[in-house]
Amino acid sequence: MAESASGTLVLERVNTPPAQTWNHLRANDITLTVPVVSRKGDVYFALPRLFESIECGMGGAVTDWIESQASDARYVEVRAGEKREEPIIAESDTGIMVRAGAEATIVVCAPTGGPAQGTTAALVRIIAERGAQVHVLEFVCGDTEQHLESVGIVAGEDARVDVRQFFLGAGTTAAGLAVALDGNRARLDLSCRYLARDNDVLDINHVIRQRGRNTRCDVHESGVLDGHARKALRATIDLVHGSSGSEGAELENVLVLSDDVTNKTMPVILCDEDDVAGNHGASIGSVAPEQIQYLQDRGLTLEEAEQLYVRALFDEALICAPTSETRKAVLARATEILGSETASDLVEGLDLAEKSGPFATTEV
């Protein structure tokens, strides 16, 4: 969703975690000013009411705002047992029902290209029924002033959900993901890779509610911060009463390349059950001296060694990008940051240039 503003709305203290810390730390939330366009008289297709109860990562205020601003909502259903090959492209307000035993890939790609845009947003709600397999890929690579992305997923018994997030865009990115592992043995694997540089603001909220028995979640966030970037990550694993036998693990690795970076990490494990395990770990700092030395011993300067970490982010994003549009978005951002020669090399290396479609003609 990208709109020209006829008015503005202040979304105060959104993207909040279930349990908060001292306010003076300024880590609990983010306040955003967003445009508001009147939709009076528009015919609007709403999602089935089932989706209304899904918790989304950025919270109710953001959900209400996106619903009020989206020109339409889109409902997609993957039939029971179906293995859908073609990815589902989720746009501003999308609800996806993946029926029992079905498999689907869902792609959320923030708008990119053209002159810098104002505000863009995406609201995606997903229901994964019993035994369903859902692969979610999120790409934020654009040059919008601010992008809001709120995702909510409910996983039933034996459902498997994997989410790969790539937050590589400029400006302000606020992203929230809430996953409810409601069914017994439901599983989440979440990988979040990010890059924030210059004056970028990145605000991430991950909330995993483990309600079913013997559920598993494995969360790994890692990224690179440079320039005057400000980043906050709130990651909550909530082992709810009744989730016996469940295990949740969260790990973040932050690479800081500048003294002017602001990094806030707020990991929380909530536990209301005896027979569960929750783990958290974090490493925050610059590249370790022995790693730098190893890379220098192979011919890289300090600056090149640090850039290697950034290149690696784009390499991975390109490997994961399933559609020509997402590849174009990643590549455009890679060109901006790494230069056209390296970006071209990324494409060539992945053999993407041979693929058909618009990507083949992308200038790099």
Partner: protein, 256 residues
């Protein structure tokens, strides 16, 4: 001796508070294979790192020349690009960097090795086959979660990819089982055959030397090179250990 490729002259070096190497003189000719042996803690690895330019060690006096150029004050990346390769005894884990991105970046840094990505992938595939490595390694993070043997194979992969003029192998054989040692030995042979580069093999185990034609053997004790000889010196060490050299060094020290 062939044209001298590496010449270490009168090197005294160590950490900030501890001298480790004393009056080291060493010359390695182009294409030659030298072996540096010695007991644990003798300073062998330190010499390798000093030649590579590790800033953790200070060179207090002496010079290092490579290819006729004085590189004593050059940074490690410059020495690497000049053609020196140090294979780590314990390769460093680098989370966040997939092996493919890393290999591609270090290869593209070398004008003589620049190639299209397609050729690069083919070349990496060939080497991986030579070393019995799975292609899936390429998408994994550099050295992260690899076994000791796999890490050494990755070192050999880089050796064969970068084709240096001089490879310093710092106890590449340590911690390897028989199969892994065989694969690594094949990698070293391939380097000698394909690249014709010189080798400085740091070891206190003779197994890795069985397939190599050694030109010179050096023995280091307590930071000093106390003996030098032909390949037969290795057999002597294998049979009698380092005690004779330690005794000789101790009596030399007493005399001093």
């Amino acid at each position: 001796m062939h044209d001298t490729l590496l010449r270490v002259s009168g090197i005294n070096a160590g950490t900030e508070d501890k001298p480790i190497l004393h009056d080291i003189d060493l010359a390695v000719g182009a294409g030659e294979t030298h072996v540096l042996m010695g007991p644990n803690g003798a300073g062998k690895s330190t010499l390798g790192r000093v030649i590579m330019g590790d800033p953790a060690y200070q060179v207090n006096s002496g010079t290092i020349e490579f290819g006729g150029e004085d590189i004593t004050d050059e940074a490690a990346d410059k020495r690497s690009l000049a053609g020196i390769f140090l294979s780590y005894q314990a390769p460093v884990e680098v989370p966040g960097v997939p092996l493919y991105s890393y290999l591609r970046t270090i290869t593209q840094k070398r004008p003589e090795l620049k190639m299209t990505a397609r050729k690069f992938r083919a070349r990496v595939g060939e080497i991986a086959d030579q070393l019995d490595m799975s292609g899936s390694f390429l998408t994994r993070e550099l050295n992260v979660g690899f076994s000791g043997g796999e890490k050494k194979k990755i070192e050999m992969l880089q050796l064969l990819l970068l084709r240096p003029k001089l490879a310093i192998l710092d106890e590449t054989d340590s911690g390897l089982d028989v199969d892994a040692l065989s694969v690594v030995s094949r990698g070293i042979e391939a380097y000698r055959a394909d690249c014709g580069g010189a080798l400085l093999v740091i070891t206190h185990n003779t197994r890795i030397l069985e397939r190599l034609s050694v030109d010179r053997t050096h023995v280091m004790v307590q930071g000093r090179l106390v003996a030098e000889g032909p390949a037969s010196l290795i057999d002597d060490i294998d049979a009698h250990g380092f005690e004779q050299f330690e005794r000789a060094n101790a009596s030399g020290g007493d005399r001093a």
